[in-house]
Amino acid sequence: MSIPSPRNDWILMAVFTAAVLAMPVWLAPIGAAYPDLLQKFAIFGIFAIGFNILFGLTGYLSFGHAAFLGVGSYAAVWSFKLLTMNVLPAVLFGTVLAGLFAVLIGFVSLRRSGIYFSILTLAFAQMSYNLAYSVLTPITNGETGLQLTLQDPRVIDNAISAPGEGLPWTELFGIKMSGYPGFYFCAVMLIIAFFISLRIFRSPFGMMLLAIKSNQTRMSYTGFNTRPYLLVAFVISGMYAGLAGSLLAVTDPLAGAERMQWTASGEVVLMTILGGVGTLVGPMLGAGIIKYFENIFSAYNDQILHGIFAALPDGIEAVVVAVTGLFVGEGWHLTLGALFMIIVIFLPGGLVEGARRIKSFFVRRSLRRHGIRTDQPVTRV
């Protein structure tokens, strides 16, 4: 591993940008190159990257980040309903409102640390979810989810032009924000979010957060007040979640309460750990894998399996289909659970750690071929 330097960071940025923008190309062979899933990759990538700013840098494990995702979505849909179908105000409102919400929750929750903090955030998120699902239905439209209707005032749009027939589309100055344009909009947001995250990781502020993580007690003994730093990290990551939530609404203008449920909060934790906590690209990878499983693995059915294994002799084919059938389609949860276990057992540190190991294996081998001793451990940075 090399020492982070501005030059390496720019290379990383360039590679990341290229990889994200080229997703429709290189994800095509595995069946993931269609707009909705690509959008989800980008959106949940943002969510996980933001979560990682809190969890990866400070070690504070929030179990309630889905609340901010939900708030972002609701705010964005309300912006579409009340103001305009232009996505920029929606994204702005979603992010800012989630940030404000994060200030409130963070201010209270950060009074505690460790699992007590986790449970506080969980409690706030679950309260938000339960209320949004039922009592707050006038604001959230409950179980059905907040949707656009023909009766929405949309004051700005309607002042400019008469409403057309049917529901309007979310748009960015005339470009419809669904399909590929929607993906590229999310992708640009993802790249910006990644860049900001990179800058935070490299900044004195990021270093300070890491210092808090590695020795909170010592820092507080020296009379240093860590809470403002933690709060800023919490709010930033809440805003990332809000951004992700508003982008969900941008690409698909519906906001449901279940977005705030604990399982959704748990999902982003899993994404982050799966990819690699505290790494820059890990959370993005984890998000991609979980969303891929949810959308592609769940869609395999017997018909498709029979197609895949058609080449096998009949008897064997039936067995193979039956066995693989356990893990795909309705069994995709089983695969996901097994994947969590395998990765965390064999690759502590997540996928990024796995990639690092593979790389160091090859590097060592090539060094050895050149007669360089390799029994010195790699200095970690």
Binding site: Y116, M127, V135, H333, G337, M341
Partner: protein
């Protein structure tokens, strides 16, 4: 007054269930230092011990219904009834309490295998990794149960002598209007017994003393020549048994399905944390406290003033308690704070 008393009973009953689940979770955390997200799955496995025994006992002679011709529809008569007559019927009707006998060895084995096969490798790993791996395990377990038993709940009946309601009001001179289901009374009694047994085991046996010592200071116990790890493995097995028994006894109240564990998972963590991580009395008192508060918050009189309060009361109380008492009701300093 009647309504009040009934809600107290409800609260105690709920609290008993919460306390039982939280007890095992705390026991594992206090001894092994492991955050076990698969604990709910153990509860669910216990419930499925009851389901399995019931299905075993009701293996039936199938008599085809002749009016149905397109597929096989059967009127089923369990062989137990055919072979043993009324005695067979009686045994079947007691399948839930009988499953306790099945659940104890099964859950102990499951617990030991889980600890030796997986958990032991995670003692020194971060809590986040423990959460991920045990959560993965929980998913795997529940999906396997789904493959075996389907996703639909499978009803379990309480034994007929515990059907119906107990005249609680009559006992305490409040009139016959106050009644409470027998099985729930049994459950309350049962959770009391199990909680008492666990505490007595820890308090009054030498083994329990060693475990308590190990919970307080693992390193020093090791310095005294005791292989505390082996004892903790047994404790994990005991925790699995406690969770399993809680699951078995809960089946007549809540027909179990594969997802049962996840439904209790978050709640049981809230209970444990509100009680204070690693504190057994804390977990038990938090269980009862939250159970009772939840019952009262569900009363119409309360709901009319605070709409939706019954849906958030547990979390609201958790927030308030954690803000007032930094480590929950009885938590120790420095546990799970970093």
């Amino acid at each position: 007054m009647d309504a009040f008393l009934l809600q107290v009973l409800n609260g105690l009953d709920k609290g008993g269930a919460y306390a039982l689940i939280a007890l095992g979770l705390t026991l594992v955390f206090g001894t092994l230092g492991v955050v076990n997200f698969a604990h709910g799955a153990l509860f669910m496995l216990g419930a499925f011990c009851a389901v399995s025994l019931q299905q075993l006992l009701t293996i039936s002679k199938k008599i085809k219904d002749p009016s149905v011709t397109f597929f096989d529809a059967f009127k089923e008569t369990p062989y137990m009834e055919i072979w043993f007559g009324d005695a067979g019927t009686a045994i079947i009707s007691y399948s839930v309490p009988l499953s306790i006998l099945l659940a104890i060895p099964v859950m102990l084995l499951v617990g030991l295998i889980m600890e030796r096969g997986l958990i032991q490798f995670f003692y020194k790993r971060s809590h986040a990794e423990q959460i991920l791996v045990t959560f993965g395990l929980a998913i795997v377990i529940q999906e396997l149960i789904k493959v075996a038993f389907g996703a639909n709940p499978i009803p379990q009946a309480a034994p007929p002598i515990f059907a119906g309601t107990a005249p609680v009001g009559h006992w305490i001179g409040l009139g016959d209007a106050v009644v409470y289901p027998w099985w729930r009374m049994i459950y309350l009694f049962f959770s009391g017994v199990v909680i008492f047994a666990v505490f007595a085991f820890l308090r009054y046996t030498t083994y329990g003393m060693v475990v308590r010592a190990g919970m307080a200071d693992r390193e020093t116990v090791g310095l005294l020549g005791i292989n505390i790890q082996r004892r903790f493995t047994i404790v994990f097995g005991i925790a699995a048994v406690v969770a399993g028994l809680a699951g078995v006894m809960y089946t007549p109240i809540l027909p179990p399905d594969y997802h049962l564990g996840m439904e209790f998972l978050v709640l049981s963590f809230v209970v444990v944390v509100v009680g204070g991580m690693g504190s057994l009395p804390g977990a038990v008192s938090a269980g009862f406290l939250l159970g009772i508060l939840q019952s009262f918050a569900s009363m119409n009189e309360v709901k009319n003033i605070f709409p939706g309060i019954d849906q958030i009361i547990i979390y609201l109380v958790a927030v308030v308690i954690l803000l007032v008492l930094p480590r929950g009701l009885m938590g120790r300093k420095g546990v799970m704070e970093s």
